[in-house]
């Protein structure tokens, strides 16, 4: 089987990160409790989540509405204070609505974590470079926005501490995963957001 990390649309692209996104996201998600609720931002981030946890009703995955994943995670975290909520998003999506980091910092729900999978490229549109490959640091922006618990992960052995922070932080937490730029195989997806919503609510609330 061809190495998915070497080819596809990302061939020849470079990033400062070296983590394998599928491996790093899976290890981080595996370290969290099984009942964590997950909002997966569109495109690559949703693929990472699906690859890590499978087709799971505790995941709401986006197929569009770019920029909304983090704010949706905030609404969910405020509505479900007894559950951990995790947003998994990409650098491109987070840059689109980066002010949400300030909104989350001010609301500061203790049960909300954000993982930003930063490959320094817009994979979905053909791997154009993003600002994070040209000097913008989203971890610094998260910190500057006022989020207290922030980690940048560049090595696999830093994932344990990041996972612990996501599990135990008593305020909003942010993890920037600096991953290599690659083009892993697409995961199967259901595009019907209404179906995802109803399934998520049925599992969580017992009603659609």
């Amino acid at each position: 089987m061809a190495d998915p990390n070497d080819g596809g649309r990302a061939a020849g692209k470079t990033a400062t990160g070296t983590l394998d996104r599928r491996v790093a996201v899976k290890q981080l998600l595996d370290s969290l409790d099984d009942d964590v609720l997950i909002v997966a931002g569109l495109a690559g981030a949703k693929g990472d989540v699906t690859a890590a946890v499978g087709d799971d009703p505790r995941v709401f995955g986006f197929g569009g509405a770019m920029g909304a994943a983090a704010s949706m995670g905030l609404g969910l975290a405020l509505a479900q204070p007894d559950r951990r909520v995790l947003v998994v998003t990409g650098d491109g999506e987070l840059l689109m609505n980066v002010g949400t980091l300030a909104t989350i910092a001010v609301a500061n729900p203790p049960n909300l974590g954000i993982i930003c999978v930063d490959n320094e490229h817009y994979g979905e549109t053909g791997f154009q470079r993003s600002h994070t490959g040209l000097g913008t640091d989203l971890a610094t922006m998260a910190q500057g926005g006022g989020i207290g618990a922030v980690r940048t992960v560049r090595e696999m052995d830093e994932l344990d501490e990041a996972g612990e922070m996501l599990r135990n932080s008593n305020g909003a937490a942010f993890v920037l995963l600096k991953v290599a730029v690659n083009d892993p195989p697409k995961m199967p997806t259901v595009w019907d957001a209404s179906w995802h919503k109803s399934r998520f609510r049925q599992a969580l609330l017992g009603k659609p």
Binding site: L37, V39, F60, G63, G64, A65, M66, G67, A68, A69, A70, S71, M72, G73, L74, G75, L76, A77, L78, A79, Q80, N97, G99, T100, A102, T103, V106, A107, A193, S194, H196, K197, F200, R201, L204, L205
Partner: protein, 173 residues
């Protein structure tokens, strides 16, 4: 309801109907509701940096079994357009209360383009618009909006017109 008490009537109806997340951007027209929600310990008053965050927030609230409302000015509607695909694609309830500018008696021409576009833009995005121009329409209209938003689970906007709010006063030249 008279001129002084209609904002409290809105607040009471929101709370009676289980609305727990009140998202806002700073706005003179919503000043009462914003202050009231910040002072209410049973409510999450969420300050946004841009109105579109409210669209995501309210969808997240619904995912978690809660209800929310987005308070914004008409100019903020333009910021929400793309994200309004979320309530439409997902059939999420969506309730927004909009204080109008660029409406009746506007004195700032910068407000006119978005003010005059507010209702057509919302309707183009499948958001049902209910307008309020006098205090005695407030209760009935807010109740209607809450029903359509949370029972029909459809996107609804209530437009508080400048006939109700009064146009902002600018110094005479």
């Amino acid at each position: 309801m008279n001129e002084e008490t209609w904002p409290e009537e809105i607040y009471g109806l929101l709370r009676e109907n289980g609305i727990e997340q009140i998202a806002y951007v700073p706005d003179a027209g919503h000043d009462y509701l914003i202050k009231r929600s910040i002072a209410d310990p049973e409510v999450h008053a969420v300050a946004l940096t841009t109105e579109e965050e409210g669209v995501g927030l309210l969808a997240g609230a619904h995912l978690g079994g809660s209800r929310g409302v987005l308070l914004m000015q008409s100019s903020g509607v333009g910021n929400c357009i793309n994200l309004l695909s979320l309530p439409r694609a997902g059939r999420f309830p969506f309730l927004t209360i909009i204080s109008m500018r660029g409406d009746f008696g506007e004195g700032n021409p910068w407000q006119m383009p978005m003010g005059q576009s507010t209702q057509p833009v919302l309707e183009a995005c499948d958001v049902t618009c209910l307008c309020i121009d006098s205090p005695d329409e407030v209760g009935r209209t807010i109740n209607a909006a809450i029903t359509t938003a949370f029972t029909s689970e459809m996107p609804v906007a209530v437009l508080l017109g400048q006939r109700l709010l009064g146009a902002k006063v600018f110094a005479k030249r």
